[in-house]
Amino acid sequence: MPDPAEFDVLIAGAGIVGASVAWHLASAGLRVAVIDATGPAAAASGASDGAVSVASKKPGLMARLASESLLYTRELSTGGPLAGAFHARPSYVFGSGAVEMSALDALVSKLADLTGPVRVTADGPATLLPGLGGAVDRLVVLEGEGHMPGHKAVRAYLSRPGITTIWPAPIRAIASDSNGVTLDLGHRKLRGNTLVAALGTATLDLFPALPIQPRAGQLIVTDRGPVDALRGSLTAASYLVAKTGSGDQLPLPPVVIDPLTTGQYLIGSTREAHGRTDQVDFATLKSLLSRASQIWPALLNRRVIRTFAGVRAAVADGLPIVGAMPGQPRVLMATGFEGDGICLSAVIGREVALMVQGLAPQSHWAADLAALSPARFENTAQKGAA
């Protein structure tokens, strides 16, 4: 007989998704432990640009979820756990050339269809944003999105009383039965009634059957300077193509220029099919910086102080994996967000907390959430790509 459960819920992974799930469950009065191999926000959440963006999500399910999560994030930031972590700010998407133009058309119509919290407030020439350089044919200005550095949100969520944090503690093995789950942490075993696996790229180590692929992105950080006219992220339409498209060759570098509250800029980002955080190369950075400084010439007065690569957990079909593992009803997955975890974490945390408690989602979410279930990978061969 296994030992009695020490916790109602074990959460594997102290990234933003695990932290949000933990906060929601603790708020419901459950005893929660968060276990991480390294520590809080140690992987994608800590390396992210913090964009809470609907614009960058695929039309349909992902854009609907992002809209809902943005609204809920705003709610949680008004006197809730995310106060001080989330800030509303405008965002700008620019483009030049035919491919980027049609990506902008798609963006505008997607946002119109959503009738969500994100509105196009201006759509026109580069002169809409003072300080923008040449080489921009069209600029779309959005209101309603925001910025939430992953590490701040994780810290905010996990500071709630009732959450036990355990790190550094790599999980050696997971054993689940009909009554609960046991984690083998090497020096000790941990027993809970339910496990939520929010492991990001580390999902591969413990659930190798799931089709998760690491996807690296190179980023650049500049020195501090005067906070200038850029109040929100400036995103190349080719970045939307990279995130939502079929993986075709991009016409122009997929640049995102993010003004940080420190007066620094964070400039990204590529999407590369590997999981190496030490692979940052001059040629790629030069190409990102070259376009970035044409778009925002103030960058030419800055210095690069650091470069790094972050690794996101991508899923073969481009959708995250959320829900109970087939045949392991005590194990729930919440992973594979591929850089969208910052935006989706609020709503995913809420919904996974409901699933853990055996409660039904709000009816209009049932179908969307069902589409994210890991059950979709059963018999993939027969069904074909979902």
Binding site: D223, R224, G225, P226, T262, G263, N301, R302, R303
Partner: protein, 84 residues
């Protein structure tokens, strides 16, 4: 010492080949401005490692201890024209 660099409105003589940091030190100028963090900028390591002596030299951010003086070089604190 017939040549000068210009620190804000002040002409400062220098010795051929010396750094901006050492010419300013000789002129009794220790504080070189304030960083965006509020920290006073001043020579600390003196050999280009610490980033503590950043100034604007002809419009570019650079280390005062690595920047070599040349006649007419215009220097300003990072935080603009504040009299330091």
């Amino acid at each position: 010492m017939n040549h000068h660099i210009h620190w804000q409105a002040r002409a400062i003589p220098f010795q051929t080949g010396e750094s901006v940091a050492s010419a300013l030190q000789r002129a009794g100028i220790h504080q070189l401005g304030r960083a965006p963090t509020g920290q006073a900028l001043a020579v600390f390591c003196g050999i280009g490692q610490c980033q503590g002596c950043l100034i604007m030299a002809d419009g570019q951010v650079t280390e005062a201890c690595l920047q070599i003086c040349r006649d007419g070089l215009t220097l300003q604190p990072l935080d603009g024209d504040a009299d330091v």
